[in-house]
């Protein structure tokens, strides 16, 4: 048992915490850049009168939900270098995550928009509102409230998704854990700490999401 503590020190913990910051940064990047994509996808999926647009949105979502995230990361990462683009590693790894966010959040947005009763749309139209006005004043207040709990739930999914950047060698929390465990042989301890850090990031988010969901159900 004592062998587990060989060569492991507080410096390694700091290293892991730094890597955790990288993880959080990746999430922030993916989520903020993914939201506009999601908005686009979500809205075109509700375009009642243009089936072609609806189909494109559907296809996009199906592709990203029907393939492993690992594959998406591989393909995007190596695909980008094929195109000759020399992007900084952080960006190159964020791109598949951005597209992934676009798909899942796009679904959430679609569900949010569809949660607005048809009658509200008609009332707004009958008052002479244009489509952009309808979206902003009639749909948004209702849809956003509906979308928040699943969005927070998705953030948890995203945090876990960043762990797969490991496979292209990018140093985020999981890769950092691997590196530390290789150099200190305190594998179990290291990965326990890594797990605890992920848990520490995600569990509060999960609680918030569950709490918001319960509150929403009560008010409905």
């Amino acid at each position: 048992m004592p062998e587990i503590f060989i060569a492991f020190s507080y410096k390694d913990v700091l290293y892991l915490l730094q890597a955790a910051l990288v993880t959080i940064a990746m999430c922030a990047m993916a989520f903020s850049c993914g939201l506009p994509v999601a908005l686009l996808i979500g809205l075109i999926r509700t375009a009642r009168r243009i089936p072609a647009l609806r189909w494109i949105g559907w296809a996009y979502v199906e592709v990203f939900r029907g393939t492993p995230l690992l594959m998406q990361i591989f393909i995007a990462y190596f695909g980008l270098s094929i195109l000759g683009l020399q992007l900084p590693r952080f960006v190159a790894v964020s791109i598949p995550l951005i597209l992934y966010t676009g798909a899942y959040m796009g679904e959430i947005i679609r569900a949010g928009v569809e949660a607005v009763p048809r009658g509200q749309w008609e009332a707004g139209s009958s008052l002479g509102m244009s489509y952009p006005q309808l979206l902003g004043y009639v749909v948004a207040p209702v849809a956003v409230r509906v979308m928040i709990p699943p969005s927070v739930g998705f953030l948890v999914q995203l945090v876990k998704g960043t762990s797969l950047a490991y496979v292209v060698g990018y140093v985020e929390l999981t890769r950092a854990g691997y590196i530390v465990s290789q150099s200190t042989y305190a594998t179990m301890l290291v990965f326990t700490i890594v797990g605890v850090i992920y848990f520490g990031i995600n569990y509060p988010l999960s609680l918030v999401s569950q709490g918001l969901e319960a509150r929403l159900k009560r008010h409905a």
Binding site: I4, E62, V63, G66, T67, P68, L69, L70, M71, Q72, F74, I75, F78, G79, I82, L83, G84, V156, V159, K160, G161, S163, L164, Y166, V167, T174, G177, Y178, S181, T187, M188, F191, T192, V194, G195, Y198, F199, N202, Y203, S206
Partner: protein, 224 residues
């Protein structure tokens, strides 16, 4: 663009990929079935009156749902090695995948059971049914009907998640791709091709689940 695509590389290796796909199906299939057993116990534990059971099950579910699968995989793999147990990577993958799928499925089943209104149980009992009859007709079938779509989604997600097992060298589809990649360096073509295989498998299973569900429950679900 100075890159020329060599699509014949993955196409040549189609048999290897098909074996890989079968291995993936085997891995995720076993994990889902075992996971279902775990989930049923877990769901009942979560709904149990005994605080210890409830707490243990909740801890299990939350621990798994809030940590990445790859970390769980490393944990189990290296953990077993540390304690001197040397299992095949494939087996380790199945174990971890079972634990993972079980946690998510627990929540699905729990929600399904809870969605059955208590009043129906009381109605059944008042009609003179035994507890077993109430369970079978009032609880079981409606619960299965409710959990079928989300459970199907979870199983498909588990199958897609099994690709991560390649990182501990478990012999499944993604690993087959990695092996070929290290020989030929045609990363893009290989993984694009493999992604298509995963996609087709996912669609196939979605369709099968939908079809089975319709036959058994006579419900008109869209695609799952």
């Amino acid at each position: 663009m100075t890159y020329t695509f060599h699509w014949e590389v993955p196409l040549r290796e189609l048999p290897a990929f098909l074996w890989g796909a079968l291995a993936t199906l085997e891995m995720s299939g076993v994990a889902c079935l075992l996971g279902l057993l775990v989930a049923t116990c877990g769901a009942l534990a979560r709904l149990s009156k005994r605080r210890f059971l409830r707490g243990a099950a909740t801890a299990y579910v939350e621990a798994i749902r809030n940590t990445p699968f790859i970390v769980q995989l490393f944990y189990v793999y290296f953990g077993l090695v540390t304690f001197g147990i040397n299992l095949e990577a494939f087996t380790v993958a199945i174990i971890t995948l079972t634990v993972n799928c079980g946690a998510y499925s627990t929540e699905i089943i729990r929600a399904g059971i809870q969605s059955i209104h208590r009043g129906q149980t009381e109605a059944g009992l008042s009609l003179g049914m035994t507890y077993w009859q109430v369970f079978r007709y009032v609880i079981l079938m409606p619960t299965l009907r409710v959990v079928w779509p989300p459970l199907a989604s979870q199983f498909i997600a588990t199958m897609l998640g099994s690709s991560v097992a390649s990182q501990i060298s478990a012999e499944e589809l993604t690993y087959a791709g990695m092996m070929l990649e290290s020989r030929t360096f045609r990363t893009f073509e290989i993984f694009f091709f493999i992604a298509i295989i995963y996609f087709l498998m996912a669609r196939l299973f979605s369709f099968l689940f939908s079809l089975t569900g319709q036959k058994v429950f006579r419900e008109a679900w869209g695609q799952l």
